[in-house]
């Protein structure tokens, strides 16, 4: 009787203590087995990575970041990760840091460097330290948009001064540049997309269209070189200027908005709304107007602008840690964005399917 009492109490006490410990371990998401393997990687910068962020292999959680410290000379960062001992590392393993979710949480991915030829991995100076790279923040991509805009502006100024065969060549080169940049953009966004959800997929779709449009545009530029029609050139010039001005406003808006996080969401909202309206208007205009070469410029620019806006939106979300809550509580904003993307898509599809409608006139030259 007495013994039974003691046994029962002992059982409850031990079970309670074990439950508390097990619960603490489980809730913190640590691994059960004590066996861990520590790997180290080196980076130039670690973005928003923090101790405790997950380590993934092909999207599977295999461990967590245990330590982040600057290198002795201060020219790099070492990151220690504690991972399951049984994971198989690729032969050319590298660690890629990227954002994990729209919350702004980052993660470390163990990847095969061969899969990311366009990324520069920091070479490890010591043995057993993995080379690492971090993906740029999407907000960085908006800077590219600003560069494009200034390029186009310079171009249009030059065209106005002297429109010669030489300048036509420059136009072509510039457009090729644009194509290149958008390819680059697509590459970046493509990498980001692996970690983002539906929003990013739409961005990717849009970028793809931008790229095609750019190709078409460069074809057009070739035609411009062969045939110079003074009257049409004026129209090209006017449109190009307007477009670049638009783009510049947009980029300045973007840089303004990324400056102050509290304002970001509101700014993104209006930007997206403006864009939605513009795109719709554009779509209508394009179908209503006599298709001409003139439309190619604005279309291209608008498309790029759309992409830039979306990038900013995503970038802003990512920058504003936890602003997702605000974004999410405003379904109107999200719908607006979706609508804008949809309009853009339709426009792009139209351009793709009936290039003649937009480009046909050019062939006349």
């Amino acid at each position: 009787m007495k013994w039974k009492n003691e046994a029962l109490v002992g059982l409850v006490v031990i079970a309670g203590i074990l439950t508390a410990l097990a619960g603490a371990v489980w809730l913190s998401g640590r691994s059960w087995s004590g066996e861990e393997r520590t790997i180290t990687a080196t980076f130039r910068g670690v973005g928003a990575l923090e101790v405790g962020n997950p380590v993934k292999v092909r999207g599977v959680n295999v461990g967590r970041v245990t330590d982040i410290r600057l290198s002795e000379r201060g020219d790099g960062v070492f990151v220690n990760m504690s991972v399951r001992p049984d994971i198989v590392m690729p032969s050319d393993a590298g660690v890629l840091l990227a954002s994990e979710s729209l919350f702004g949480d980052w993660m470390a991915q163990i990847v095969s460097r061969g899969q990311y030829p366009d990324l520069e991995f920091v070479a490890a100076q010591r043995g057993r330290v993995l080379p690492g790279a971090s993906l740029p923040d999407i907000s960085e991509l908006t800077a590219v948009a600003a560069r494009i805009s200034s390029d186009i502006e310079t171009l249009s100024a030059r065209i106005q001064l002297a429109f010669t065969e030489e300048t036509a060549l420059t136009i072509r080169q510039t457009l090729e540049n644009v194509g290149e940049v958008s390819d680059q953009l697509e590459g970046f966004i493509g990498q980001q997309t692996r970690t983002y959800d539906a929003v990013s997929r739409n961005v990717l779709g849009a970028t793809e269209n931008v790229r095609r449009t750019t190709e078409t545009a460069s074809l057009t530029a070739t035609d411009i070189r062969t045939t110079i029609n003074r009257g049409d050139v004026q129209a090209i010039l006017a449109n190009a200027r307007r477009a670049s001005a638009n783009l510049e406003t947009l980029s300045s808006q973007l840089s303004a908005s990324t400056g102050g996080i509290p304002g970001v969401i509101a700014r993104v909202d209006t930007t997206v709304a403006t864009f939605g309206a513009t795109a719709t208007a554009l779509n209508q205009t394009i179908s209503a107007l006599q298709p001409s070469l003139a439309e190619v410029g604005p279309t291209l620019v608008e498309a790029r602008r759309a992409m830039g806006t979306l990038s900013t939106a995503v970038g802003a979300i990512q920058q504003g840690n936890g602003t997702l809550g605000r974004l999410a509580t405003d379904p109107a904003l999200y719908e607006e964005m979706q609508r804008a993307i949809e309009t853009l898509r339709r426009l792009m599809a139209d351009i793709q399917q009936n290039p003649a409608k937009y480009i046909g006139q050019v062939q006349v030259f």
């Binding site: 009492n5 029962l8 309670g16 203590i17 439950t19 619960g23 809730l27 809550g325 509580t329 999200y334």
Partner: protein, 272 residues
Amino acid sequence: MLARRGVRSYLDRMNLSLPFAIVGGAILGLLSSFGQFSRFVGDLIRALTDVRTWGPLTVGQMRRLGVDSLPIALFLSCFTGIVLALQASYTFTGAIPLYFVGALVTKTMILELGPVLTGLALSGRVGANIAAELGTMRVSEQIDALETMAYNPIAYLVVPRVLAGTIMVPLLVIFSNVLGIASGWITSMNVLDMTSAQFVRGSRLFYDSFDIVYCIIKSTSFGLTITVLGCYQGFNTRGGAEGVGIATTRAVVLASMMILVLDAFWALVLLQ
């Protein structure tokens, strides 16, 4: 009653010292009851040295006050978990991700509802039990009998109960937390159309290892409060069955109040 009688007689005589007498009386009463309580706590601490008296009795009290309270604690937390999950999903309408339900259930259960609800339930079950038992022993002179047989009644009766409560309440709270979270989890999966992974993700989202420490500190203080107040009221019972009733009520009411006060106290001290 005394005051009212005093008021009438004093008003008749227009005695101006009355307000001072009332204030002074209240302060003296407060001080004397505080003094009595401090002496009780002092005796309790001194009695801790008498291990041979309380040692063998503590396990029995742990069984009676702790293990036997497990059903009520678990019953309570089971339903709390269900309600928390449902209310969280009701609150998080629209675009807030559903996995926040997991975060809310886990966090609320560990930080607040687990300790406080268990504490309140136990102040009824354990506090009342102790006060009634010791009160009956007091009025039937069993405590005096203990003393005449050279037992220190504090070491024999109070210390085992206080220790048992202080040790067992945190354990009960841990079990409550586990069951509360589990019932919230099951509710989320079956009623709210969440996946298990979503709930777990939410649970871990805001978890901090200090949460459990905080929970244990808090519930230990609750266990101590409930048992000390129950013992104190029981020990100072006077006058028959009615006295036992008064002591029991007082023990429960004071313990419940102190639990809420301590709850706020710990939040201020530890969560700031």
